[in-house]
């Protein structure tokens, strides 16, 4: 009976220590995560990576860029002919939809494929130029 009580006290101490270590580890992880998030999303902007199949002709790619740039809230558009991709960056307060992007690509004579949304990494601001 005594043995059991002693064992229980030791067990309680171990549980306390493990809990403390886990709490500290969790706090460190959360703090680190928050800092990383602050670094990657500090612009508050979002961007859409749009796949446009068959975008190999520069005249067409520039047409797609022009039409995408007319969507309200667009800050920058880049087209990558080799990858068949258009990257559309929106202002933080913009509320773009997939439908707006699909319509713009359609108006340019193409069909939008997969649209992937992601936050704009800090320091990704454009320097202008035709891409």
């Amino acid at each position: 009976m005594r043995m059991r009580t002693k064992f229980r006290r030791t067990d309680h101490l171990i549980v306390m220590r493990v809990t403390r270590i886990l709490t500290i580890a969790a706090l460190v992880l959360v703090a680190g995560g928050l800092r990383t998030q602050a670094q990657t999303q500090s612009t508050g902007a979002r961007e859409a990576v749009v796949t446009v199949k068959g975008m190999q002709c520069p005249f067409c790619a520039y047409g797609i860029k022009k039409h995408l740039a007319k969507i309200p809230g667009v800050r920058k558009v880049e087209v990558d002919l080799g990858k068949n991709q258009a990257i559309v960056e929106f202002a933080p307060d913009a509320k773009p939809t997939d439908e707006q992007i699909q319509r713009a690509v359609h108006d340019a004579g193409f069909t939008a494929g997969k649209i992937e949304w992601r936050s704009t990494p800090k320091g990704s601001g454009g320097t202008g130029g035709r891409q």
Partner: protein
């Protein structure tokens, strides 16, 4: 029931054949082998503009040759780069913006007989003109589909009297304007079938007979219009827009994005999806072609072509490789 279905299929097929015949669904090239044997291109060199102050060429697209022999190129740095005939950069001008001498996407370029430089802005739907040394002169054009308005002006040409021709990409037409930018007439109509139908034209040029050559890119053909704007000839296997695929060397074009005429009448075509330059006789017969040996298969190039005043050199923009290709031309024996 099966007989009715077979009959229906027969009617559809017969209709397609009739349409193909009577709607003049393009023409196959004639291939005079004797001419092709002597004529052709050899790559002399390529220019990257490495000595330009704003850095080497990036995504060059528009190209034009001045009467002096100087070569003007537009590129993705949003500028015009002027080269001497031996490939040295003389000067460059332009940067991003909406003002005078500023660009969002300079695509087409042409040089008039007096050396005036014309630059189309694909994004701003306007055309700016400059002195041979880059001083801003004037601008014209707005966005839209009305007379004198553009929806992505691409290739340009200037006649000996100063008339300006603009390949109006999204309006599926070519516009003729006076030297001051006033609308004269629309050439061609939006469409896929028959002479005069245009689908996303990207280039325009003038022949020595003052015919208007149009690179009708997405009808897979080059079309000729007379000086009054009436369509007179089409070359390229037009049927293939129904089934686009890379075409063999003498079967036709795949997205021809520009054409230019030599002083001796020979025509050079930027056959962009085939990654080659094609030489045609003045009436459109195939003569020879030259392929970019290290072409990037994922990007259509060359985009535009320009010809030296004596016709001995063809310059072609290779956007995919950030360079200008300089080709020596071996003329056909009979000089056509």
């Amino acid at each position: 029931m099966p007989f009715r279905r077979i009959g229906l299929i027969g009617i559809v097929l017969a209709t397609l054949v009739l349409v193909a015949v009577f709607a003049r669904w393009g023409t196959r090239w004639t291939v005079p082998q004797a001419l092709a044997a002597t004529a052709g291109y050899t790559l002399r060199t390529s220019w990257t503009g490495a000595d330009a102050r704003g850095g080497p060429l990036q995504g060059p697209i528009g190209i034009a040759v001045a009467p002096s022999g100087d070569v003007y190129v537009t590129d993705a740095v949003l500028r015009v780069v002027q080269f001497s005939p031996d490939g040295r950069v003389r000067r460059e001008w332009g940067h991003e913006g909406q003002g005078r001498g500023e660009f969002s996407n300079p695509v087409g370029i042409a040089v008039g007989p007096n050396g005036t430089v014309y630059v189309s802005d694909y994004e701003q739907d306007r055309i700016q003109t400059f002195s041979p040394t880059g001083e801003f002169l004037m601008e014209f054009g707005t966005s839209g589909s009305g007379p004198g308005q553009f929806r992505s002006p691409a290739g340009l040409a200037v006649d000996r009297d100063g008339s300006i021709y603009v390949a109006d990409f999204y309006n599926h037409r070519v516009q003729k304007l006076t030297a001051n930018g006033a609308f004269v007439q629309a050439i061609g109509r939006a469409g896929r079938l028959g002479l005069g139908a245009l689908h996303y034209p990207t280039g325009v040029a003038l022949t020595r007979e003052r015919e208007i050559l149009v690179a009708d890119a997405y009808n897979y053909q080059v079309q000729w219009f007379d000086a009054s704007g009436d369509a007179i000839r089409q070359v390229g296997y037009h049927l293939f827009w129904l089934w686009p695929r890379p075409l063999s060397s003498t079967a036709g074009f795949a997205v021809p994005t520009d054409a230019g005429a030599s002083p001796n009448g020979v025509i050079h075509v930027a056959d962009s999806a085939n990654h080659r330059v094609v030489m045609l006789s003045a009436r459109g017969a195939y003569v020879a072609d030259w392929r970019i040996p290290d072409a990037n298969p994922d990007i259509y190039s060359p985009e535009h072509v320009a010809i030296s005043p004596d016709g001995s050199t063809v310059y072609a923009t290779d956007l995919a490789a950030n360079r200008v290709l300089v080709l020596n031309v071996r003329m056909p024996d009979d000089g056509r």
